[in-house]
């Protein structure tokens, strides 16, 4: 049964991808990419990767779509007709696809317990996580402790992206003279989105917080929570106008969130070093190593959440602020 469903989803995925490539209206393309992300999220869920599915749904289908749309508001939504032949790209893509399919012929069957992936590192994680950290969600354990250094790297990727957008779009760092347009914009005069949206925003933010702090027990964690909270605030911005949202969460706070989040994560690492452990070795944080691990994970997840949320919102505002100017 699950196979039929997966097959159905994958077929839809292919159809959406082809449609994205073929459409010349960029607005349609953006909407289709959003659908694509949702389908991907469903697929991840079928493969039992709930954490990834949550991220994909929040970031891919939610925030990215809004950011794409605000870029479209600047650039117009009609694609320039393309010059030149499509044969070369088509050929390249075809060859690559054949190569990847060829590589998967020898791939172990899905869920095969004898596959190399399930023989080497993974059992160790499954076995040791309860012993070292005593938390049920192994994904969180791997993400934030065993491979915490990678996660730190990813936070800095987000940070770099945020810096890049701010730098290139030339938004001034927060100063005293941040003038706000007087008249409210947004969907204030449309009754239905207004009412429904208002109802939704607190729940979204609440859900984000739940995901943030529940990451140890169920799917979730800093990345997902940050994205979900950012979605909530963006929805608010869309309803009440950007100025109103900026008043609720000013730009300096956002930048502080990004920087603070990244620094918090790093500081945890340094503190671990100062307390005699290795970089990001949370065991030394408390007298009891298990509790130390738990504490470290909670703190760095908070850092991740702050950084992701702040970065997404800064990027959104950078685009939105651009809209007002010629």
């Amino acid at each position: 049964m699950i196979y039929v469903f997966a097959l159905f989803l994958l077929t839809l995925l292919v159809i959406t991808a082809v449609a994205i490539v073929r459409t010349t209206n960029l607005f349609v393309a953006v909407m289709l990419t959003s659908i694509f992300s949702l389908l991907m999220a469903a697929n991840f869920f079928i493969l039992d990767a709930a954490d990834v599915a949550l991220t994909e749904a929040a970031v891919g289908a939610g925030v990215t779509t809004v950011i794409f749309l605000s870029a479209l508001a600047l650039a117009g939504d009609v694609e320039q007709p393309r010059l030149g032949s499509r044969l070369l790209p088509l050929g390249t893509v075809g060859v690559l696809a054949v190569l990847i399919i060829y590589a998967t012929f020898d791939k172990p069957r899905l869920g095969d317990p004898d596959a190399p992936v399930h023989q080497h590192v993974a059992p160790w994680y499954l076995e040791k996580t309860p012993e070292y950290m005593d938390i049920p969600n192994v994904v969180t354990a791997v993400l934030s402790s065993f491979r915490g250094y990678d996660t730190l790297g990813e936070v800095f990727v987000v940070f770099a992206a945020c810096i890049g957008v701010l730098f290139i779009l030339g938004v001034r760092p927060p100063g005293p003279a941040a003038e706000l347009p007087a008249e409210p914009s947004g969907l204030r005069h449309h009754l239905i989105p207004q009412v429904v949206g208002r109802l939704l925003v607190p729940f979204i933010v609440l859900f984000g917080l739940y995901v943030q702090f529940h990451g140890e027990y169920g799917p979730g964690g800093g990345f997902q929570a940050g994205a979900i909270i950012a979605t909530g605030v963006i929805l608010y911005a869309l309803l009440e106008g950007e100025a109103e949202a900026l008043r609720a969460v000013p730009r300096s706070v956002l930048l502080g969130l990004v920087v603070g989040g990244a620094l918090l994560f790093g500081a945890v690492g340094v503190v671990c070093m100062l307390m005699g452990g290795a970089f990001l070795d949370y065991s030394v944080l408390a007298a009891d190593p298990v509790f130390g691990q738990q504490m470290g994970i909670i703190v760095i997840e908070a850092g991740v959440g702050m950084a992701v949320c702040g970065a997404l919102l800064s990027i959104f505002h950078a685009f939105a602020a651009r809209e007002g100017r010629p």
């Binding site: 190569l99 990847i100 060829y102 590589a103 998967t104 012929f105 020898d106 791939k107 172990p108 596959a115 190399p116 992936v117 399930h118 023989q119 080497h120 590192v121 993974a122 160790w124 994680y125 040791k128 402790s145 065993f146 491979r147 915490g148 250094y149 990678d150 730190l152 790297g153 990813e154 800095f156 990727v157 940070f159 770099a160 992206a161 810096i163 890049g164 701010l166 730098f167 290139i168 030339g170 001034r172 760092p173 920087v259 990244a262 620094l263 790093g266 500081a267 690492g269 340094v270 070093m273 452990g277 290795a278 970089f279 990001l280 070795d281 949370y282 065991s283």
Partner: protein, 481 residues
Amino acid sequence: MLSAPLVVLLQPRGLAWAGATAAGLVSFAIAVALAMAVLGGETQTYAMGGWPAPYGIALAVDDFSALVLLLVTGAGAAALLAARPSVDKQIEEERQPLFYAAWLLGLAGLAGIVVSADAFNIFVFMEISSLASYILIAGGPDRRALPAVFKYLIMGTIGATFYLIGVGLVYMMTGTLNLADMQARIGDVVDLNPILVAAGFITIGLALKAAVFPLHVWLPNAYTHAPHMVTVFLAACATKVALYVLIRFDSMVFQDKLSDHVIQFAMFAMPLAVLGILVASAVAMFEGNLKRLLGTSSVAQIGYILLGASFVSQAGITAGAMHMFNHALAKGGLFLAVACLAYHYRDLRLSQLGGAAARMPWTCAALVLCGLSLIGVPGTAGFISKWLLITAALDAGPWGWTLVIVILVSSLMAVVYVWRIVETLYFQAPATEETGIVEAPLQLLLMTWLVALLNIAFGLAPAIPLTLAEGSAAALLGGMP
């Protein structure tokens, strides 16, 4: 000790030039300390989070990484020291903190790639360094940088994705991400097809990042339109780090396990290297813009490094690693001199630069010195690595002579394009009658001369990089039958 570059990485916000430079210098000092330790004989390792290697992420620095790390941090620190006047001129005051933050991120990303011993961790830091370099390149006042950087972004992302696909396939078959562990476990894999495809994806992806010949199209424009100091930094080390990963991955994971892989790698890399050397040198001979000329010549130099690696022999890899180091010195010095010139000349086409030597004698002299090293005149650093390369080519087999001819011909081509620069600077009448062009600021000039003199110093006494390069070749070939 090893995580200190990362501590440096953690303060990337707000601090303008002084902070950034201090961080750059600290990381350079750490790199020097590491190199000394490695020269002392032992590979330095560090387990992140205190988890043992295949489960947690490990860092490892051996001779090869120490060499490249020296290069990256050295280039970063030197360029930052000199950067102040040039950056002040090109980037507005209030955007400078962001600019330096991106610079530090780039430096940290590149250093992170070099010290990492984990395939996925390398990818993460590759993302950081690439994002940072896109930002840096797009940061200048030159609007033409934007299309250039977009092209770079697309190509770079494709390269990184290919790398990720390859790593994913290898993980699927071995169940590990640690490079050394991969090397040990890949021997047990029965079905080699996915590994083969993975090797292909990883090689092509990294070749894209490294601007190996047919995949180099993003490079000249990106270098040309970037802010001058950024060009110094990136030209000296960015592509070399990708080459470093390519060589390391290939020799550690693939070469001794896949049958015939050595020959396949040589057959793949050698023609590309030769073509890259010849075509890019030829293009550089006719290029009119000074920065693009030097950028195109970089493509040829990458060809030399790849050629050295493609011999898969002790002499060959030594030559490749040496050339990595020496080319960074020469090209870094050249671009620093260009930054000096650009301080007064807005238009960097050769036709506009006539007679600059009379106005900026010190700058031009440094430029000539580095140019000589690029050609490989005896007594400069460039000579050492070209000599090693020729020796390696002669060792390689009966067709080694053809490769020697290729190297000699391309060196002659280098003579031609460097001579064109010299001719313009020294012997042509000034194209414009602008007055008030004087020597570049002292800070910039001092660093330029320091690098230029290093070219000579390492030409006369190449012991340190040579030991490291030989050590790296031995380590990389260690697993070979």
